[in-house]
């Protein structure tokens, strides 16, 4: 098998921040299954926590079961992407139904970023403004593109990325899980190299800490993943911590190609 547990190292931190009393973020990561999921809930009272909690719990459980029951060859990029779309759709349904049937949950929803690692590839799905970044060779790159008004303004050339830091419209997302009967999940697959470090985070990090500081932190502290995650959250809080802050770090320590050839299977048998 793929033995992802040996290939992936994971650290997670979630914190309510310095201003809010509730943590509406939910996170889960599983190095054995090769998955990470992060959701930033929204809605009145505790509905945000409920929405993000449903999304993360459902996706983690169902995705893990699906990943473990499928053969590696079924989980090539396309197969994994289909899984992400399917599971996100199911979480969307569950949240939407709960919001419809219970008035106190009316209008709740959540952003989502979910990634699976399989056969030296990573497939990522996202909805809203929770992000996935990759640090490779000391350079940080934002892999997902927010579904937000701000991003659309940047794309249309109305404002620059630099100007966007001063916008008051940071809180408007154009897509979310659980708001409508259907959800459109954006999915992509990327090849992975040993040494890659992936960061999943809520906007509580990306709005409070610049990409440059995230890059510096990850590249300086990657020897100690848990410390790096804590340090990122601490920086967000030092800068004001106006929102919940969640961070999942996933480092690829070695090759995790699926063993599909006869010789590979034979070798795997002896492991």
């Amino acid at each position: 098998m793929t033995r992802r547990s040996a290939a992936l190292e994971v650290a997670t931190v979630t914190h309510p921040g310095m201003v809010r009393s509730h943590n509406e973020d939910s996170i889960a990561a599983d190095a054995d299954a090769g998955l990470a999921v992060l959701a930033d809930g929204m809605g009145g009272y505790n509905a945000g926590e409920v929405a993000s909690g449903i999304a993360v719990e459902m996706i983690r459980t169902e995705l893990k079961a699906a990943l473990e029951s499928k053969k590696p060859e079924e989980l090539n990029g396309q197969g994994a992407e289909q899984l992400l779309v399917e599971k996100t759709g199911r979480a969307n349904n569950a949240i939407f139904q709960a919001a419809q049937s219970q008035p106190q949950y009316s209008g709740m929803g959540t952003t989502l970023v979910v990634a699976v690692w399989c056969d030296n590839r990573m497939s990522v799905g996202h909805v809203g403004d929770s992000r996935l970044y990759r640090l490779r060779g000391g350079v940080l790159e934002q892999i997902t593109r927010d579904h937000s008004l701000l991003q659309e303004q940047i794309d249309s050339g109305m404002i620059t990325k630099e100007q966007s830091r001063h916008s008051q419209n940071k809180n408007l997302v154009t897509r979310a899980v659980g708001i409508d009967p259907e959800v459109e999940t954006e999915v992509h697959t990327y090849p992975v190299q040993p040494g890659d470090l992936f960061l999943l985070c809520s906007d509580g990090l990306s709005d409070m800490v610049t990409d440059e500081d995230i890059e510096l932190t990850l590249s300086s502290l990657q020897a100690n993943l848990q410390l790096a995650a804590q340090q990122l959250v601490q920086q967000a809080n030092d800068n004001g911590g106006r929102d919940n802050v969640s961070v999942i770090l996933v480092r690829v320590t070695q090759d995790f190609a699926a063993r599909t050839g006869m010789l590979d299977k034979f070798r795997a048998w002896f492991r």
Binding site: G48, L149, D155, L172, A176, Q234
Partner: protein
């Protein structure tokens, strides 16, 4: 609603609500804000408002448009920005600004929204129309089109960090935010032993790593409340003034002596 306070030589002439998507300023009478003055161009500038953001744009005027004394072509207005056109001054009072002035509780502060819901109600008590259209992306905007709000969800969103310089202590620290009066004074390390003895390292970055990767590494973080030393990797931990550090971060005091990977160095604050 955001508004402009128009004044000349320090006396207020009138208040102008930004109640249109596009408000024009100029000498010609058909402007929304006509200013009868030869220093003002016929069509001088305009302000495009999209939800909480107002964009000021100079329309190629002869004498230019200043914001807080600096000439601009395009600018996202921030609360209390002063626009100068000729001898006239216009103070921008944003919606966020008036909200921040009011005693808002943390939890109803600028909640994130999925676009498309009535913005006003959503801001305090999110109640999205159940029949809200599925969040479509605005048709690829070619020219700066105020993207029509399509479908949005309330979620707590942080205010820009810059507007609230209230650095707070680490998550683990006491809940009461300490407010340092000034940014950290510059500090440095003086190497005392080894090949680099005498060398000085200025701690200008938020994170400075020390030691030998793979052997022993520690990091000095610059935070609002001071400089901290934390162990990153390696079997042995750094020693401060003869005492071995544990896994916790330790605040550095002026003239502390750090011993790391066989090298002694002194921490000192530069005056």
């Amino acid at each position: 609603m955001a508004k402009l306070i128009l004044s000349l030589d320090g006396s207020v002439i009138r208040e102008i609500p930004l109640n249109k998507d596009r408000v024009t300023i100029g000498r010609k009478p058909q402007n929304d804000i006509p200013i009868e003055n030869l220093a003002v161009s016929g069509e001088h500038a305009c302000i495009v408002t999209i939800l909480n953001d107002s964009f000021l744009e100079d329309l190629g005027s002869t004498n230019g448009t200043l914001v807080n004394g600096n000439p601009i072509k395009k600018h996202i207005l921030q609360n209390n920005d002063v626009i100068e056109i000729g001898k006239y001054k216009m103070k921008y009072v944003g919606e966020a600004g008036s909200a921040a002035a009011a005693p808002a509780t943390a939890d109803d502060f600028e909640r994130t929204m999925v676009m498309g819901m009535p913005v006003k109600t959503a801001a305090s008590a999110p109640k999205p129309a159940a029949a809200a259209a599925p969040a479509p992306r605005p048709a690829t905007p070619a020219s700066p089109p105020p993207p029509t709000p399509v479908a949005a969800i309330p979620r707590p969103a942080p205010a820009p960090a810059a507007s609230t310089p209230t650095p707070v202590p680490a998550p683990a620290a006491a809940a009461k935010p300490a407010v340092p009066a000034e940014p950290q004074p510059l500090a440095a390390l003086q190497i005392l032993t080894g090949a680099a003895a005498g060398k000085e390292i200025e701690l200008i970055k938020n994170l400075t790593t020390l030691g030998k990767p793979g052997v022993q590494v520690a990091v000095i973080t610059r935070r609002p409340q001071g400089y901290f030393l934390t162990h990153v990797e390696g079997a042995s931990f750094p020693v401060i003034n003869g005492k071995t550090l544990d896994a916790q971060a330790r605040q550095l005091n002026d003239h502390d002596v750090i011993e790391l990977a066989g090298v002694k160095m002194e921490f000192f604050v530069k005056r």
